[in-house]
Every structure is written in C-alpha cells, then in structure tokens.
C-alpha cells in the first residue's frame, strides 16, 4: 500500500468521505438559507433549530407512530415547512418593511424558543435513530469500504441540490422567484401574488433544512442542540460562496466539507477553524464571496 505524505490511504479516504458527508449537510442547509435570503433578504437564524426539528420529527414519527425513515423523509420536511410558513405569515411579515436586522433577531429568538422546548421535553442527551434496514451494511469500493447509508446521504444531498437548482433556474415557478428577488413590485404588477410566493419560499427553504435533519438523524444523535454550532459554520459557508448565490451554496457547501475533512488528515488542530480562516481570506480578497456578484 502506498502512503501519501505519511498518511495511510484508508485514513485519507475515510476523512474525505466524512468531509463529503459534512459537506452534504453544509450544501443543503446553505442552499435553503440562500433561497430564503434571495427573496426575503433575511438571514434565517432559526435554520439550525429547524434542522434539529426535522431530525426530531422523524424520531418522533418512528418512536410514537412507528412511521419509518422513508416516510419521514417526506413527512418531516412537510411538517417543518408548514411551521415555517406559519412563522413567515405571523412573525416575519410584520417586520418586512423594517430593517432586516429585526428579522435576524426574531429568528434568533425563535432559535432559543425551539431549542428550549425540545430541551425541556427531551433533555440534552441524544436520541438514537436506527439506520433504515435497506441502507445498512458496507460496500466494497476496491480502495475503501463505504458504509451504504453514508453514501446514501451524499447521493440524496446531490439530488436535492440539483432538483432545487433546476426548480429555480429552469421552471416557470423559478422564474417568478428570480424575478421577485430582483423586483417584487414589478412582479406584483403582473398579477402574481408575491406575498404568497414569499411564504412558499420560506416554507421551502425551511423544509430543506428539515430534510437535512432527517438525513442526519441516523448518523448524528438526535438532540436539541445538534443544529446550534452547525448553523454558524453554514453562515461562514454562505459568506464564502456569496450571499444568496444558489451555485455558491451548493459548490461551496460540498467543497468546504471536503476541505474540512482533508484538514482533519493533515492538520487536525485547525479542522474546526479552517472554514472561518477561509472566510477571512475570502473577505480580504473577494468580499462578495466566490460566486457572489460584486456589490
């Protein structure tokens, strides 16, 4: 067996895989944030808490109702997305005309409430969620063994990212969304219901985070704070990729996960801070983000 810079290939591939899995979550979460930011111009701080909720809802579906993973993958995003729409209608809408910082503060408050509620009922210790039977086991790729569920996460994340990109860039609904992002007044002057579009968009972005949460449930323990620190890393991913850029979110998410994984191999001390260091460099040399348009 060859070695690369003194690193055994098994360890290298293992970290690359972990990096891609983290990158999958970064990509789906930052994609949701980017979609919301594009139209609403707000940063949804509650994204991490709603991701956690997505995981918890699937755990509750399984534990209380016996509903398996595959259904949870659909039901949980729908439930959390519906909650998101209620949040948008009742709380974010009244703030729409004000400074967008208020929306950030509001979603911060929501994060505390949602986290607190789950902590209150379920404590801080994690709840185990089994890997669905069809996805257990390991696949031999020749150069490494791939746990099937981990491969599944990456594939699902890629599919969801591509589908979202397609929806926004290639469909009629997506053109409404892009148009409303640019000039909501003009879109409403054509008879399109922009407030409804805003509600649906927020619901969709939030549903994406819940989807990531369901995917995460079998690999990370389901606990009330699982989204807390993750979301800030995702914020950094967004700054690096370029605020509101769909492509920036997707590519930035996967590649930064990968970079983080590789850092774990070569310089583990920096693995938790590397993304922030990259963010600092991006701010220094291209403040609008790698895929962001100059402002």
């Amino acid at each position: 067996m060859f070695e690369l810079l003194g690193i055994p290939p098994q360890a290298l591939f293992g970290q690359v895989l972990l990096g891609l899995i983290n990158g999958s979550f970064y990509a789906v979460l930052s994609l949701g944030l980017a979609v919301i930011f594009g139209l609403l111009n707000i940063i949804n701080f509650a994204h991490g808490a709603l991701y956690m909720m997505g995981a918890f809802v699937s755990w509750m579906l399984l534990t209380y109702l016996g509903i398996p993973f595959w259904f949870a993958l659909v039901i949980s995003p729908l439930v959390v997305g519906a909650l998101g729409m209620v949040i948008e209608r009742t709380m974010l809408r009244p703030l729409h005309e004000l400074d967008h910082l208020y929306s950030l503060l509001l979603t911060f408050g929501l994060t505390l409430v949602i986290t607190g509620v789950f902590q209150n009922f379920y404590g801080v210790s994690g709840k185990p969620y089994p890997i669905p039977a069809a996805l257990t086991g390991v696949m031999n790729l020749g150069f490494m063994f791939l746990p099937i569920y981990r491969g599944f996460i990456i594939v699902m994340a890629v599919i969801v990212c591509f589908a979202t990109w397609f929806l926004i860039e290639k469909t009629r609904l997506g053109s409404y969304l892009r148009a409303a992002t640019e000039n909501p007044e003009m879109v409403s002057a054509f008879g399109i219901n922009v407030p409804l579009l805003v509600t649906l968009t927020y619901g969709f972005g939030v549903a994406l985070s819940a989807f990531a949460g369901v995917l995460a449930a079998p690999v990370y323990s389901v606990n009330p704070v699982m989204g807390n620190d993750l979301i800030i890393v995702v914020f950094a991913v967004i700054v690096i990729g370029g605020m509101g850029s769909i492509m920036g979110a997707i590519i930035g998410g996967f590649s930064l996960g990968l970079v983080e994984g590789l850092t774990k191999v070569f310089y583990p001390e920096a693995s938790t801070t590397i993304i922030f260091i990259i963010m600092a460099l991006v701010l220094l040399f291209k403040p609008s983000g790698i895929f962001g348009r100059e402002v």
């Binding site: 892009r178 007044e185 002057a189 008879g191």
Partner: protein, 249 residues
C-alpha cells in the same frame, strides 16, 4: 379574490363615449409628503391618452397610483366599473391592466423568453409568440439573452411585448421613448399605433411632446400633482404656446 368585469358596461355601444378608466379625486402620498392632489381623468375605450408635464410633476406617480403600486392613496379609480382604490397591484393587474414602467422593469437575471413568459395571462385574446415576434423581430433573435444584456431599445420593446401576451387590453405606458434613439422612438410610435388599431386602450406618460401629439387622441397636463388642463389632439395647434408654457419648452 376575483373581480369580473361588469358585463352590462362592457357591452354598452359607442367606444368613443364609453369610459374605461375613470379617476376621480385621486390623492397620493409618499410617506408624509402629499404628491397627488385631486387628480381627475378619464380614458375611453380605444383611446390613446397622454399625461404631459415636466419632470417631477406627478405623471409617473399617477400611473403607479392607478396600478396600485403607490401604497398610500385615496379617492376613486374605476376600471370598467370596478373600484380599484382598495385593491392590491396583483388584483388590479388581473382585471386586465398592463403596466410598462418608466425603468422598463426588465428582469436582468431572466432570459428574454423568460421575461416574455413571466406575466400570467389575465384574459383571452392576447398575442401569441409568433405575433409578438412579428411585431418585434429583434426580440426573437435574442430570446436566450439575459435581460441585463439588452440595449435600452430592446428592453423597451420587451417591456411592451410581454404585456401583449397577457390579454390585457388597457396599458399604462410610462415614457416609452425616454433615452432612446430617434429610429427606435419611431418604431415604438409605430407599435403604439398598431396597438390602438388592434383595440388597445393606452394611457401614456410622456415628456416628448412631439411623440405624444402624433399618437394621442387627448392630452392631460399635469403640474405639481394636479391635472391643470386638457386638450383634444385637434386643439393642439391653437393652444401651442399655452402647452409649451406648461411644459417649459
């Protein structure tokens, strides 16, 4: 929320005398500042009517108020008998009013085709794409270009073209000639005449008086947020000095 056009009025004969749009005592505010003062005007079916006036006289604001884009307004705006004053822009558009704004409102991140297809149909009988391409041949060549790559003239064409698809027969057009070359102004004039012939009713905001007098049936003069005078097109010659005084030319 749907508002159907009242059948009885739509069927009344005599297009010259039938008011399609009736604005009465329209007041409008931008925040604290009162910008429209008791505006009254009427547009009859099949007419081209212009709002003339200097910069900042309140012409664009009047169109925005009719379209529901000016949030703070009062008075009465009746379109085919339906009161618009409390309706949001999207419902007003659905009644069959097309809007061509002064900045043309082209979406830069959408292709020409996407821009064309964006406005939903609000009534039957709109132009189909071949008819639009016949009217604006250069748009057809640029269908895949993004809106922000178009020239000013092309943007203006697109801004008008996408309204024609919707089936709206009443169009608010805000300074379609602004900043464009004479050749293109000529082409737009031609388009407006074609539309009039096709049965469109147009309320046109203009600063280009010469453009306006070649197209319009009637003119309203707007000054400091008020309608201060009006002329039929055939009265223009006799009142030329007065009008030029109003417009400062």
């Amino acid at each position: 929320m749907t508002h159907t056009i009242e059948k009885s009025q739509a069927d009344t004969p005599g297009p010259e005398t039938q008011a399609m749009l009736e604005v009465q005592g329209l007041n409008g505010w931008y925040g604290e500042s009162h910008v429209l003062h008791d505006v009254n005007l009427t547009v009859n079916k099949g007419e081209v009517v212009t709002l003339l006036g200097r910069n900042g006289a309140g012409k664009t604001t009047t169109l925005k108020a009719i379209m529901g884009l000016l949030k703070s307004r009062s008075g009465s705006i009746r379109f085919n008998g339906t009161e618009l004053i409390d309706l949001p822009a999207r419902d007003i558009a659905r009644l069959g009013i097309g809007y061509v704004p002064d900045d043309r409102g082209i979406f830069g991140s959408l292709s020409v085709l996407e821009n064309l297809l964006l406005p939903p149909k609000v009534a039957d009988g709109g132009f189909d794409l071949p008819a639009i391409y016949e009217l604006f041949p250069n748009l057809e060549e640029r269908l895949d270009s993004y809106g922000n790559k178009l020239s000013g003239g092309e943007q203006q064409m697109l801004s008008i073209a996408r309204i024609l698809r919707t089936g709206a027969l009443f169009v608010l057009m805000d300074e379609p000639t602004e900043g464009l070359a004479p050749v293109i102004i000529h082409q737009i004039g031609h388009t407006v005449r074609r539309l009039k012939k096709a049965g469109f009713t147009i309320l046109l905001v203009e600063q280009n008086f010469h453009f306006a007098r070649e197209l319009a049936d009637r003119h309203y003069i707007v000054q400091e947020g008020k309608v201060v005078d009006q002329f039929r097109n055939d009265e223009i010659a006799d009142n030329l000095e007065k009008i030029q005084g109003y417009l400062g030319i």
